[in-house]
Amino acid sequence: MKKNIYRPFEAVVEDIISETPTIKTFVFRPKEPFSFRTGQFIELTVPGIGEAPFTPSSDPNITERFDVTIMKVGRVTELLHGITKGTTLGVRGPYGKGYPLDKFYGKDVLIVGGGVGLAPLRSLLFSLFAGIDKYNKVVLRYGSRTSGDIVYKEAIPEWAKKKKVNLVTTVDVGDPSWKGNVGLVTTILKDLPVDLNNAVAIVCGPPIMMKFVTMKLLDLGFKPEQIYLSMEKSMSCGLGKCGHCRIGKFYACKDGPVFTYEELKDIHDIWD
């Protein structure tokens, strides 16, 4: 029997971890075999309500369950934040191309994350850590609005201790409890311990953050083909049919959602 491309399969919510007041990580156990490559996304169905696209935030090498970290911003995400453990949701996917890990082999991998944009990057980090010998080093720069908005609070210090990892965080607005850097993420992109001739930069965050980080990276000497961006667009089908996520000659769902800046730089209004 040919599968129906629009039908979701079931996945049960096994655990819900509160990351910040507006962000939760949901742990799913899929009822059908499911695996994804880091950076690919899924369509998550709230039965009877509808779908929204998310990128899993867990280690792609673990297939019996997967995590999705979700910020409460819209209709579907608001409902998702109201569900309890044991709820069955629907999943379609994975879709898109994800991160081309083989192109990062032997290189200094700079990762710049903003806010909940660390979610797909966490999946990438797990993949990099699992094969860390293949990469020269991993340099993570993460910014969030306030210290209360930092996701994966417990994991970040653990990552910092790993070999070949260099990690710096910042918050846009400081508070008395915060002892770290204060300033936008672009302020911690100075004196990066990377060899520009042998580096890639991976950026994920809100469009405005990606825009300014990209400009900064270009200023620093990164070439457009060295910069990988996760593009956010309205999506419905995930298959390159429904027409919503067009970026120039591409569809974000089918050709992305990860693009190099080289691919996008001549397209108008990519940051809108």
């Binding site: 491309i5 079931e10 169905t45 419905s236 027409g243 067009r246």
Partner: protein, 365 residues
């Protein structure tokens, strides 16, 4: 390709034979009181044609349509405006039990558009199962256009007002009957069953058809000369060069955001998936959508890359003349002119393309 002659008096016998196996749709005429005011050619026809189920049509109203029907034929019969595409989870996919459709009155602009629809729904990473079932089983009975409407502009993009491929049967009207081209194996089998009605076409009939076709193209081109529509090779260049043009804004002054243009378009294909409870279970529907509607590109949280109307108009032209040229090698516009006729704001694609061209490349074509 084999070509036969079918007498006018036998046409209903032909339809009956097709209708015994297919849900046949045939063109019926809708008389309109409107007259097109062309300074240079005031006698262009204005009647419309609708496709009606043969089983529900009166024989008196069934006719040979002189040009394309109102419905976006390539789109509307293969994806419905809103239809169920799946149940959730465990329910097995619904087997397509519907009788296959046969579409009569299809014109070459519609045939061109099926290339776009096929690329979207059959191409890419996976096939749309509902579209595939309908499209593969459908019998396409096309016809030459012996006339054209004011809004028709297929020849501007070198699309002929007659068909050479993409059909099962093609009808060319003669005074006392039709020349019938058999364009597929399936049609060949059907023709074999109605041998008594078909006689091989004579040389005179074939050359007569050729002369008619050429005459119509000449008439249409003299009509199109007044519109100065840019050549198809320039379309991508002018929409990209005109990205920041004021034209998008100026042309949208009269838009009332009704969505008529996107839903009447034979090459538009966008849709969204919507989940609704029905009969104690949730069903997923595929419903037509389009980029001229305000929330088309809105994302969670409210950001909307196409928040202004001129951005949405521009997006539509970028999709048709940039995206499709890059991805399929042809523009996603067949020149049927349906969007021109449907628009209450009199927004005219021919005019917009001409303005973009003139702004970029004086002088006009």
């Amino acid at each position: 390709m084999e070509t036969y002659f079918l007498k006018s008096t036998d046409i209903f016998k032909f339809y009956d034979r097709i209708a015994s196996e297919y849900e046949l749709y045939v063109p019926v005429r809708v008389k309109t009181p409107v007259k097109v005011k062309c300074e240079y050619q005031s006698h262009l026809p204005t009647d419309d044609y609708l496709l009606k189920k043969y089983s529900e049509a009166n024989k008196e109203e069934v006719c040979f349509n002189e040009y394309r029907c109102v419905e976006p034929t390539a789109r509307a019969f293969f994806t419905h405006f809103k239809e169920e595409v799946c149940d959730y989870f465990a329910h097995p996919p619904k087997e397509a039990k519907d009788k296959p459709i046969a579409l009569c009155g299809v014109k070459n602009c519609d045939i061109f558009s099926t290339r776009i629809q096929d690329f979207v729904f059959l191409g890419g990473i996976d096939e749309d199962p509902v579209y595939k079932a309908r499209r593969e089983n459908a019998l396409i009975i096309s016809g030459d256009c012996p006339n054209f409407k004011e809004a028709c502009f297929c020849r501007a993009f070198e699309i002929n007002p007659h068909c050479n491929e993409g059909f099962d049967f093609n009808f060319s009207p003669l005074t006392d009957g039709f020349l019938v081209d058999v364009g597929s194996e399936r049609a060949g089998k059907l023709a074999g069953l109605i041998k008594d009605m078909l006689v091989p076409a004579g040389f005179g009939q074939l050359s007569g058809r050729q002369a008619k076709r050429e005459t119509l193209i000449r008439q249409m081109e003299s009509h199109l000369a007044h519109h100065k529509i840019p050549r198809k090779e320039t379309l991508q260049e002018i929409v990209l060069a005109g990205y920041n043009s004021k034209i998008w804004n100026e042309e949208m002054f009269t838009c009332v955001e009704c969505g008529g243009c996107i839903f009447i378009c034979d090459t538009c294909h966008c849709f969204f998936l919507s989940d609704e409870p029905r009969d104690g279970n949730t069903k997923r529907y595929r419903a037509w959508d389009g980029c001229l509607l305000k929330n088309f590109s809105r994302v969670a949280g409210g950001a909307n890359p196409l928040k202004m109307r001129h951005m949405r108009l521009r997006n539509r032209y970028m999709k048709k003349f940039d995206f499709f040229v890059d991805n399929l090698g042809v523009q996603a516009c067949c020149g049927c002119g349906r969007c021109i006729e449907v628009c209450p704001g009199k927004i005219d694609i021919r005019h917009i393309l001409r303005k973009l061209y003139e702004e970029k490349h004086l002088p006009a074509v």
